[in-house]
């Protein structure tokens, strides 16, 4: 065990057992998988992507690229690529390593490492091209098999996810010293303080030696957090600010259960917060830069600051005899802390020739050997570092090496401000040559970036910057540790640089020589370098690799970094589960399913449903054992011979009211409306300005100034929107108003020779005779004691009525009609039968027999156009050259010669013997078995179809070609005799 008694915040009195690759390990409450494994002396936690090299954690936080594991909590609860440095342990947690076979310690994939010279950057662009068919059959399958790190989940996720909207005055991202100080200074406003870690505190958790306002850092932290909560600040931990959107909307992902041993009831696993803040404070701190040298990826090589975190926060000594290599002061403190905790630091190797005297004095005091002007040129050890090779340097030269045995190598190349969220705002960055880093400059958002993420190092500076954001004052800090350093590209080496494996992107195995190769091959922008090498595209999204990659590329190009380009940080800040984004919108709640008031009756009576837009509609009502075709034929027969009942409630309905209602209707629809008397209905056709059919429906004039407009089910919202658009912006002078009444009414259609007989006894105040209430009439009356709007209309060719009653009465009316209809053999029918019956009559379905390219003339509905009207929507568009040209596709009927049923969507040709590609002249829009016609019928759009009556066309199918005769589109009762009582 490498746990240091008395150090850290892990509660070892609450032991926690978990497994890693089947072996049980013990840690304490507060441990991550990484800290607990390190405490057990385990550094080897994974394998790299390309070379399968052994890897251990290099960091202690969410920037970790190496220690990725699979985590499992019973069936369905498995996720790959979890960072061991973030995953908290709980009793029973199962974890496994990834990207290895057969085992983590012995992985045959590591042969790639031996052949690494072949796998240079972009190697796959240069090969795998011959022989050509080998790509699909051999090369690509081979490459794909090597893809990925972990394995995908394979079961449905039993957990739930949530989302919430939150509005606040101040959102502070990062609960380190800067964030806490800002929250305190913003007191009195609606403040939200979020941190991705399990605990608030940030740097303070790793720097217990600091004393703030005379109080030890951890005591100060506890009392400040308590005070903030008491002051109403919403403090959210385990909550990552994932993305910064327009106008200060920040997306947060809160992880609620992944750290708990048992799952609480009714608690989602994660919650997505959409926060809208008046002001955002970004206080995300800084990330430590790795050093780039040969062998810098061996398990045991770790960022110095992270080693300090493992010690001070988790009480874990990552090595008993570590070596420190650095070009920055901060790593010296790591050496001191480890030494004081019982480690025997073998050496502090500093690239710099001179270092602050106090650091040298402290090292001397602690008895740590110091090697200034030295570099590290190699490491050894198969599964964990065993030794490090150190060489003295002088300008342009690397001296003789010495080998230092060690069990950990702590490195620091300095610090990089965390600018990810700032970049999401499309904020401008400036290059700070002195610190070789980007710093935030300007952002279009109302956002302030403070502390280390703005380049201010040290706890006191962070506190000061945070407080200053709201004009507050900061406490004083003793034992603050600040420092400076110099930036490096690759460390000086005596090895052949072309052979060195000096890693920049650990996970993707991108080395410094890959970056230089990319530049050599002409990749001159950092984005090209990134894409060619995959540097920065691993699951850490370049948190550790981007800045080193840029420095090396700039060096190779002999240009300043800003000229090479800024790396774009893309959301999310850390990988975020799909479940969190989907939130509540899963399963039945994925999207609204609108149901009519009569839907429940249909469900109880065996209906099969189909989704139509947002609605679900009864498709057909099969009897036991009946196929769809049989059910539909039966339903059709029953309507034509008796009476059928149909739920038409989903039809869109718009109440058009006002003195200018007629004028408005004249302008919107193709038809003339002035002559329509109150109490009468008319079929209305609606076009777009392009002259193509958009919608249709029956429109009743309820009174002089009031129209009851119906639309298609899918078109309801679109048509209302279109009407409002014209009314509000083109014709605001018209005194007319529109109200959606789609859901005010339940609409029940009765069709068939017995429809009037069935309905008449239930209707008060209207005689259902041809004289008193002829076809295309409408009236307000009472039906079965319910207030109703009664229409005599037909979409089937049979005598038809549509009864509209206030929606909640719909099912009651349906049941009354159902009961009353029993003596007439009433049959419930669904949308499929409705489609068949209307097709037999040649009535179109907009969107099926028309698409967005059909004019009224094409559809054979020239009769619906008010030719005398000076204008209506679509009139001008319809007059464009191509819309009046000859040879347009026109709607006709088709009867197959072999009496077979055509397939909807089948294409039509005049010459069946032509080679492919064939000249297609139209397609089948609707096709049904037809009991009434005695053979299958079809509607089709055919080039010049209206002038080709009686001609034969051909429908080539995969197995045969079907001949069909062009007929009129009306198959049943063209004289409309059946509409009369």
């Amino acid at each position: 065990m490498t746990r240091v008694p008395g150090k850290g915040r892990v509660d070892l009195s609450q032991p926690v057992e978990f497994t890693f690759d089947g072996k049980t390990f013990r840690g304490g409450k507060g441990d991550t998988v990484a800290s607990a494994l390190l405490a057990n002396g385990v550094h080897l936690m994974g394998r790299s992507f390309k070379y399968h090299r052994p890897r251990g954690p290099v960091a202690a936080g969410s920037e970790e690229p190496n220690a990725l594991i699979g985590t499992r909590r019973g069936p369905g609860r498995y996720e790959p690529n979890t960072r061991a440095t973030v995953q908290e342990i709980w009793q029973g947690l199962q974890t496994n390593s990834q990207n290895k076979y057969p085992s983590l310690k012995f992985d045959i994939g590591a042969v790639n490492d031996a052949a690494y010279m072949m796998f240079s950057a972009g190697f796959y662009y240069k090969t795998f091209m011959w022989p050509k068919n080998f790509w699909h059959k051999v090369y690509e399958p081979f490459i794909r098999a090597a893809a990925g790190l972990g394995v995908s989940p394979t079961e449905e996720d039993p957990d739930t996810y949530a989302s919430r909207n939150l509005h606040c005055d101040v959102l502070i991202v990062g609960a380190g010293p800067a964030g806490i100080a800002a929250a305190k200074a913003a007191a009195g406003q609606r403040v939200v303080l979020v941190d991705e870690n399990a605990e608030a505190g940030g740097t303070l958790l790793s720097e217990p030696q600091a004393v703030i306002d005379g109080v030890p850092a951890w005591d100060w932290l506890a009392s400040e957090l308590a005070a903030l909560k008491a002051a109403g600040v919403k403090v959210m931990t385990r909550t990552t600010a994932i993305a910064y959107y327009h106008q200060n909307m920040v997306g947060l992902c809160e992880r609620l259960t992944d750290h708990l041993p048992t799952l609480p009831a009714d608690t989602p696993r994660e919650r997505l917060w959409r926060v809208r803040a008046k002001q955002v404070i970004l206080a995300q701190g800084a990330l430590e830069k790795p050093l780039v040298f040969n062998g810098n990826d061996r398990p045991g090589v770790m960022l110095a600051g992270s080693a300090q975190t493992y010690l001070n926060r988790y009480g874990v000594l990552v090595g008993k005899m570590p070596v420190v290599v650095t070009s920055h002061d901060s790593a010296w403190y790591a050496a001191f802390d480890l030494q004081k905790a019982g480690a025997k630091v073998q050496a502090i190797v500093d690239l710099r020739g001179t270092v602050r005297d106090d650091l040298l004095a402290e090292a001397k005091l602690l008895g740590i050997p110091v090697k200034l002007s030295h570099t590290v040129t190699a490491t050894s050890g198969r599964l964990r570092i065993r030794s490090v090779r150190v060489n003295p340097t002088s300008p342009g030269k690397v001296g003789a090496r010495v080998e230092i045995a060690c069990d950990a190598l702590l490195m620091s190349g300095g610090w990089t401000p965390s600018l990810h969220l700032f970049s999401h705002t499309q904020g401008k960055l400036t290059w700070d040559a002195g610190r070789t880093t980007f710093l935030p400059a300007a952002t279009p958002e109302d956002c302030v970036i403070v502390g280390a993420s703005a380049g201010a190092w040290g706890i006191e500076a962070a506190l000061r910057a945070g407080a200053a954001a709201f004009g507050g004052t900061a406490p004083t800090v003793e034992h603050d540790r600040t420092g400076s350093g110099v930036s490096q590209v690759e460390l000086p080496t005596d090895l052949n640089a072309g052979r060195a494996k000096a890693f920049v992107d650990y996970q993707n195995d991108v080395t410094a020589k890959d970056l230089r190769l990319a530049v050599r091959e002409g990749m001159s922008s950092i984005e090209h370098v990134k894409r060619y090498t995959t540097n920065g595209m691993a699951t850490d999204q370049g948190k550790l690799s981007n800045i080193n990659g840029l420095n090396i590329a700039a060096d190779a190009l002999n240009r300043r970094q800003p000229e090479v380009g800024l790396t774009t940080f893309r959301p999310p800040y850390t990988p975020t589960s799909f479940g969190a984004f989907a939130g509540y919108h899963r399963g039945t709640h994925f999207e609204v399913t609108r149901k009519t008031q009569i839907d429940s009756w249909a469900a109880e009576n065996g209906a099969v449903f189909e989704p139509v837009g947002q609605w679900r509609r009864a498709w057909y009502f099969p009897k036991t054992g009946e196929t769809m075709d049989a059910a539909v034929l039966r339903e059709c027969r029953s309507v034509r011979a008796g009476v059928g009942i149909f739920d038409a409630s989903t039809l869109g309905k718009i109440e058009v009211v006002g003195p200018d209602a007629t004028e408005f209707m004249n302008r919107m629809y193709t038809n003339p409306w002035a002559g329509l008397k109150p109490g009468r209905c008319r079929y209305g056709l609606l076009l777009g300005e392009d002259g193509y059919i958009r919608d249709d429906g029956v429109i009743g004039r309820m009174s002089q100034d009031r129209f009851h407009v119906t639309t298609t089910t899918g078109g309801a919202a679109r048509v209302l929107n279109m009407m409002e658009d014209y009314l509000q912006t083109e014709w605001p002078d018209l005194n007319v108003w529109l109200t959606s009444v789609t859901e005010q009414w339940s609409t029940i259609a009765l069709n068939g020779p017995h429809a009037a007989k069935l309905l008449a006894p239930l209707v008060e105040g209207v005689d259902l005779t041809d004289e008193a209430f002829p076809h295309m009439s409408c009236v307000e009356c009472t039906v079965a004691g319910m207030p109703a709007r009664l229409f005599r209309v037909s979409f089937t060719g049979e005598i038809g009525f549509e009864v509209n009653v206030p929606a909640p009465m719909g099912r009651a009316l349906w049941e009354v009609l159902w009961k009353a209809g029993q003596q007439y053999g009433i049959t419930a029918y669904g949308t499929e039968t409705m489609h068949v019956l209307r097709a037999e009559k040649g009535y179109i379905i907009v969107g099926q027999d028309t698409d967005g390219t059909v004019t009224p003339h094409d559809a054979g509905m020239s009769w619906a156009i008010g030719a005398k009207k000076p204008d209506f929507v679509g009139k001008r568009g319809m007059a464009r050259p191509d819309l009046v040209a000859k040879g347009r596709k026109q709607l006709v009927g088709l009867l197959t010669e072999d009496r077979s049923r055509l397939e909807e969507g089948a294409q039509i040709v005049f010459d069946p013997d032509q080679p492919i590609p064939m000249k297609m002249v139209g397609h089948v829009t609707s096709s049904y078995l037809s009991d009434a016609v005695g053979q299958p019928i079809a509607l089709a759009l055919v080039e010049g179809g209206h002038d080709r009556m009686g001609q034969t066309v051909h429908i080539p199918m995969p197995d045969r070609t079907i001949a069909a005769k062009i007929t009129g589109a009306v198959f049943v009762d063209p004289e409309n005799a059946r509409l009369k009582l």
Partner: protein, 417 residues
């Protein structure tokens, strides 16, 4: 240009990869070119490649305000297919697929064209009708596309949710087996390398600020951040920025630019064998050779050049993906990005001469530009070289918006009721 091969790779690896040469030089502009292409994406670089390789026109410059391939070429979901309804579209996109199939060999650059099939899911009766219309039309046009039943869909993509109770049940699907994906950056690089080898100048980080015209109205050249460059002909292929560039020549186009977002998951071992598109729920997905699930969504509702896009769209897209593929709920989004797509009123492209002599435009690809890259580039080059359209792009004119002869694939898929 030194040839790429396994042998050359081996040879160079023995010398530590120190002797590779630049794949294309970073050129500075000359005073004058025969042809200037504005926009160094796949389309623009490809046009330069075909101008130089097929039409013998090598005094060509491709100019970009940023780095080559940095626009939609590097920001799309890499889907390639040609199962379009109308003859005009099917011909253009199938011409592209023909070129895709040999592109690696043609360019001596592995663009990793992966012919793994594209399955479009039908979730409504209307989808079924519409997809079958496509399938029949494709068959008679010689474009592969076939119907799969729900069970066959499940067999093809085992992780598909085919529950009858799903909000959008899978009622079948249309499979184009020749469809697939390609490595998007490599397409730009391969064309750049091929064009540069034939003498084309590729000028990056040079913004075209205006197109200058001669007194007779014809094109004179382009004003750029590096000064005026004379040209006999100018072809504009600047995706989302095309209308801005063309307006400087006095040409107003029927274009609007919208943000389009896409995302990838963390990489996992192979689990997803093909491309799946679902128009009803507005999402499409494939898995890259690196193991990432690549997911595309629709455009935001407003025009924009910000390359940002909103969170709600991402939420909806991911909800749609996990609805169709529930096993991915615990996968994680690794990164998402935005592009700018230029959209025409009929959602079909324009590859056309313009009213300005010597000025040509290739634009309006909306969300479908990547798959068209070789075909668009090839026919655009032809149009520029011969000052007349190739038969394949002849229907894709600007005039169609006046005459009404639209190629409206979206309208053809109109929503039913």
């Amino acid at each position: 240009m030194s040839r790429f091969s396994a042998l050359s790779l081996l040879k160079h690896s023995l010398s530590g990869h120190k002797n590779w040469s630049k794949q294309w030089p970073d050129s500075q502009p000359k005073a004058e070119y025969d042809v200037i292409i504005v926009g160094a994406g796949g389309h623009g670089l490809g046009a330069a490649y075909y101008l130089s390789s097929q039409h013998g026109i090598t005094n060509v410059a491709v100019i970009d305000k940023g780095w080559l391939g940095g626009g939609n070429t590097g920001r799309n979901t890499t889907i390639i297919r040609s199962n379009y309804l109308y003859d005009e579209s099917a011909r253009l996109f199938d011409h592209s697929v023909d070129l895709w199939e040999n592109l690696s060999q043609e360019l001596n650059y592995n663009v990793m064209y992966s012919r793994r099939g594209c399955l479009m899911l039908a979730h409504t009766v209307h989808d079924v009708q519409s997809f079958k219309r496509h399938i029949h039309s494709n068959r008679l046009n010689g474009v592969d596309n076939r119907w799969l039943t729900t069970e066959e869909c499940k067999e093809f993509v085992p992780c598909l949710n085919t529950s009858r109770d799903a909000r959008y049940p899978v009622m079948g699907g249309a499979l184009q087996e020749r469809a697939g994906t390609a490595r998007h950056d490599a397409v730009a690089w391969g064309y750049a390398r091929g064009a540069a080898a034939r003498g084309v100048d590729i000028i990056q980080n040079c913004a075209v600020t205006a197109i200058r015209r001669n007194p007779d109205g014809s094109v004179a050249g382009v004003e750029t951040s590096k000064g005026f460059i004379k040209a006999r002909k100018v072809g504009v292929s600047a995706a989302g920025h095309t209308s801005v560039v063309m307006q400087t020549a006095g040409v107003n186009l029927p274009l609007e630019s919208y943000p389009l977002q896409a995302l990838v998951s963390e990489p996992v071992k192979p689990i997803f064998p093909c491309v799946v598109m679902s128009n009803a729920v507005h999402a499409y997905i494939s898995q890259s050779d690196k193991g990432e699930l690549v997911i595309g969504s629709g455009t935001d509702q407003y025009t924009s050049y910000s390359q940002r896009g909103g969170l709600p769209l991402i939420e909806h897209t991911i909800a749609a993906i996990t609805e169709v593929f529930p096993i991915f709920n615990r996968m994680r989004m690794l990164r998402k990005w935005g592009g700018i797509v230029d959209v025409t009123p009929d959602r079909s492209a324009i590859i056309s001469k313009t009213p300005v002599g010597g000025l040509y435009v290739n634009c309006g690809w909306g969300t479908g530009g990547f798959k068209a890259t070789p075909g668009a580039a090839h026919t655009f080059a032809w149009t520029i070289a011969k000052d007349e359209p190739h038969p394949i792009n002849a229907p894709f004119t600007m005039e169609r918006f006046r005459t009404g002869r639209l190629i409206d694939e979206a309208a053809a898929a109109a929503v039913a009721h």
